[in-house]
């Protein structure tokens, strides 16, 4: 009896960091690698569904960011939407994007000294040795995005294409669900509708479920997707 695992409603085993890592890998594989310009971007809310526990995902991602293994980025999809990308991949992508332009050495200096944060303020940037004109150049290069007067989000240059593809894919899938007779579609049938998002059906579906624009209801014929009531 001492070795019997306590299970049941209250003794449910919380998914640990391994589950979050597995979810990260799974979601990263879904990202289509059409060009080398973009690293494998995963949105944080996509991991909530794969790992099953929002608290574990948030905490593990924060820990990984503090260790410097990943970077959290702001994409411009909303104040809560955060993208997760590997630290090395981010560095390579940014350097590749600014190669040849006059701000390349500045960007390199920024990336070398940057701390694992999502948002930066003028004081913190000055500590890194960046003056106002440097910051303007970084914003123009796409590495920083303006958040408020005197504070900036960390961003990815060239993410515009990804955001456009994601929003288009979202619109396609939501329109497909809305067009159906009862505004709900079985997940297995979604591929038969006229929805072919360029980022991949599974990727966009994970995104919609995580952003709670679609709700998944378990039924006897498989999960059913319904529009979230707003």
């Amino acid at each position: 009896m001492a070795s019997r695992r306590r299970s049941g409603r209250f003794g449910k085993h919380r998914p640990g960091p391994e589950a979050v890592e597995a979810a990260l890998r799974e979601a990263a594989e879904l990202f289509p690698r059409r060009s080398a310009a973009l690293p494998a971007l995963v949105l944080r809310h996509q991991l909530y569904g794969l790992a099953g526990d929002r608290t574990a995902v948030d905490r593990h991602l924060n820990r990984l960011q503090a260790e410097g293994r990943i970077r959290l980025l702001h994409l411009g999809l909303g104040p809560d939407t955060v993208a997760v990308v590997g630290a090395e991949e981010y560095r390579e992508t940014v350097l590749r994007a600014v190669e040849g332009s006059p701000s390349a050495p500045l960007v390199r200096r920024f990336l070398d000294g940057v701390r694992p944060l999502l948002s930066f303020e003028r004081g913190q940037l000055e500590e890194m040795g960046l003056k106002d004109c440097d910051v303007t150049q970084l914003v123009a290069a796409g590495v920083l995005t303006v958040r408020d007067a005197g504070s900036w989000w960390l961003a990815l240059p060239g993410a515009g294409r990804f955001i456009r593809a994601l929003l288009h894919g979202r619109k396609q899938l939501l329109a497909a669900v809305r067009r159906s007779r009862h505004r709900e579609v079985l997940q297995a049938e979604l591929g038969q509708r006229r929805a072919r998002p360029s980022l991949g059906l599974r990727y966009v579906l994970l995104d919609l479920l995580g952003a709670e624009l679609l709700r998944s209801v378990p039924t006897t014929s498989g999960p059913l997707l319904r529009l979230a009531e707003t």
């Binding site: 009896m1 099953g52 608290t55 809560d80 948002s119 913190q124 005197g150 591929g191």
Partner: protein
């Protein structure tokens, strides 16, 4: 349940586990009490309730028509079916009743001889319970959204008042005047709450998405502004952009031990903070989080 009890008895589980399991089970099976009822006095919506902390017997309610009613919650009849009677009320005909909606009522923390009420008519009134007359009235320039008096304070009698103006006012009961102003917020202050652990620590929530923790003895400003992204707290960061929510922060509540602070905001989120360090514990309170744990493999 019996398994938990026998494991606790045999020493296989630690005591906290049984306590958590049982309290979770009770919270999840919460239901409206069919036997108890409260007499209906208010004609319109009820904005605030407070039960006195000494015995838990008397309850105050404040309505949006400015009426304040006092109830006795004790069941003195022998029957299980019981309606709690209203003992007295400050109605519309009372000469000193509030003119507009009452936003917050609170019993005096140490005894039931006094209670405080604040209202949209820009006043905070201190009432004597026995005579139902206001012992003191504090006037403000803007509508009062919320007030709170510290439940554990012995060295001060300050009432924190959150109004439409960005300044938090502290009114002293002993002297009858507003003794402090706390500056730091940029828009109206929607909720204030004293810490149940430290009698000088106050938390305020504002429509500018910020939650600030103050030590009222300090002259130089707030202790921390809570940051939902858990960024760095260094000398270089000015905390000017730290937001607790992505919208207005509507409500604040300390846990009973004062170690954690819950905040709710118009971005549909509820966040739990560690009240001593100010970090976001990242606990999520969404019931929909369990509903879509699907496996991508059995998909197409």
């Amino acid at each position: 349940m019996l398994g938990f009890i026998s494991a606790r008895q045999a020493g296989l589980d630690d005591p906290l586990r049984l306590r958590r399991a049982e309290s979770t089970r009770r919270v999840l099976s919460l239901e409206l009490n069919k036997d108890r009822d409260v007499e209906r006095i208010h004609g319109s919506g009820i904005n605030t309730l407070d039960i006195e902390p000494v015995e838990g017997r008397y309850m105050l309610s404040g309505g949006s028509d400015g009426v304040i009613v006092l109830y006795d919650l004790e069941n003195l009849s022998r029957k299980p079916n019981y309606t709690c009677k209203a003992l007295c009320s400050v109605g519309r005909s009372h000469p000193d009743a509030h003119k507009f909606s009452v936003e917050t009522v609170q019993w005096y923390p140490h005894d039931t001889g006094m209670f405080t009420s604040s209202s949209f008519d820009k006043t905070l009134k201190i009432w004597d319970t026995n005579t139902l007359q206001p012992a003191d009235v504090f006037q403000f320039e803007e509508t009062v959204y919320s007030h709170h008096m510290s439940p554990i304070a012995t060295k001060h009698c300050l009432i924190a008042v959150g109004t439409k103006s960005p300044k938090v006012q502290l009114c002293d009961l002993k002297s009858g005047s507003c003794s402090h102003i706390l500056q730091g917020h940029r828009q109206e202050v929607l909720a204030v709450s004293w810490s149940p652990r430290h009698e000088y620590v106050l938390a305020t929530a504002s429509a500018d998405s910020k939650v600030k923790l103050w030590d009222v003895r300090r002259a130089s400003g707030c202790l921390t502004t809570l940051d939902q992204h858990n960024g760095e707290k260094s000398k270089a960061s000015s905390e000017a952009v730290n937001t607790a929510h992505n919208g207005r922060v509507n409500g604040l509540c300390y846990t009973s031990d004062g170690l954690h602070l819950l905040t709710v905001g118009t971005d549909d989120r509820m966040r739990l903070w560690n009240s001593s360090t100010g970090e976001n514990t990242l606990v999520s309170y969404q019931e929909s989080s369990v509903s879509f744990c699907f496996d991508l493999k059995d998909f197409f």
